[in-house]
Every structure is written in structure tokens, then in C-alpha cells.
């Protein structure tokens, strides 16, 4: 990364990662009531796998390049087997699959993702302020 503003690039990668995490959490919450028949897997909770971007070999100082989302992992496909005989999707025993995800966990992670996003916006703000102060050296 040979950009003139490396702090921006690093913070930007983190903002993108947190954005994708929030998207995954939004999807998890959106599907909190998704019911599947017993013949199909339940809605599987999505987890974003984030990984550090290593520093480039040419860099004089080995500062990393930020963070990147590298994979999605899925939760339990068995789900919560619920007895709901009136549901059109229910099998002969009256069972359906509901997602096994926990809404409390989703909301907690959503707050963590939001705070992470805010933190990186604060980094962008401080970096901009620092760069502008550097321009004021020996000011006009």
C-alpha cells in the first residue's frame, strides 16, 4: 500500500468489514422468524470471518494493511425443531424447523459492529485533522 494516506486505507478496510458484518447481522435478524419444513435445513446464522491484512513486503515498517472479511461461516442447520401443527410447512408429526439463533446475541453483536464502525470513523476524522494540521506547519 503506497497511498499518500495509509491511515485512510486501513480505516476504510475496517469500515468495509464492519459494514459487511452489520449486513450479516441484519440478515440474521431478518430471518429470525423464517420457518423451514423438516425436509430442509433451518435458516443458518451467518458469521463473518475477519482476517488481518498483512503488511506488504516492500514496506519499510511492518504496519499491517487493515482487516478484510475472508469467509462466511454458518450456524446450526438442525435449528430449533418446533411443534406447530397448524403451520402449512409442518410434517406429519406437526414439526417445523425454526432458526436456532439467539436474538440477544444478534443485537449485542450489532452494537459491537456499530461501535467498531464508529471507532474507525473516529480514526478517519483524527487522521484528516492530523494531515490538515501538518499542512499548517509554518502556516500562512
Amino acid at each position: 500500500m503506497s497511498s499518500m494516506f495509509p491511515t485512510f486505507d486501513i480505516a476504510s478496510s475496517a469500515l468495509t468489514t464492519h459494514q459487511i458484518w452489520m449486513n450479516a447481522l441484519a440478515d440474521n435478524i431478518a430471518n429470525i422468524n423464517t420457518v423451514e419444513p423438516m425436509s430442509k435445513p433451518a435458516y443458518q446464522e451467518k458469521f463473518i470471518v475477519a482476517q488481518e491484512i498483512p503488511s506488504e513486503p516492500g514496506e519499510p515498517v511492518g504496519v499491517g494493511g487493515g482487516v478484510a472479511p475472508v469467509a462466511v461461516q454458518y450456524g446450526d442447520a438442525t435449528g430449533m425443531i418446533t411443534y406447530d401443527p397448524t403451520n402449512p410447512l409442518a410434517d406429519k408429526q406437526g414439526l417445523v424447523r425454526r432458526p436456532s439463533e439467539n436474538l440477544g446475541d444478534q443485537m449485542t453483536n450489532l452494537i459491537i459492529a456499530q461501535r467498531g464502525y464508529q471507532l474507525n470513523l473516529a480514526v478517519v476524522d483524527r487522521a484528516r485533522s492530523s494531515y490538515q494540521q501538518a499542512l499548517d506547519i509554518n502556516g500562512r
Partner: protein, 107 residues
Amino acid sequence: MTVTPIGGVLNAAGLGSIVPVTPETTAAAETDSSTAGVGNAFTQALDSLQGTQSAADSLAQTAATGNLTDIHNYTIAATEASVTTELTVAVRDRAVEAFNDIMRMQV
């Protein structure tokens, strides 16, 4: 009253021993064209400014057409363009200031 003209400075004793100044040329400065002179530095700075501004412009276009996926991509690109512009203007101001200082110099 008659004023006798002052003799030329070149007649002063000892001046002939001063070695004329030769411009310093280093091999590196001549071979590496990227570091040769302020002009090239300015050209490169303007090129990079052009790059950041067109990046910000195209992201602004995606924002206007509703194709922007990540808001922060645009705001960061716009910030980069703005800071780069300020940097270029600051460098130009200093260069003009230095030029004016030299032009004001008593000779």
C-alpha cells in the same frame, strides 16, 4: 567641488583568488528522472491530485445514481481529494512565496 569616480570593484586586491561556484551535479540526480527537479515533483503531485479527484468524482456519480454500496468509500475518497488539494495548494503557495522572496532580494 568635484567628485572623483570610484574605481571598479574588480580591481580590488584578492578577488581573483575566489573560486567560481560550479553547480553541484550528482550522478543520482541525473540518472533518476523522478527526482530531477521541482518541476517533475509538481507534475507528479498534480497527477496524483488528478487521480484522487477523479476517484472521488466517480464515487460521487455512483452515489447520485444509487449504485454506491459503501457510504464511507465516497466520504473517505472525498476527504483524500480535499486534503490532497490543500496539500498541493500549500506547496504552490510556499513555492510562490520562495520565488517572491528571491525576486525581492536586494542585488
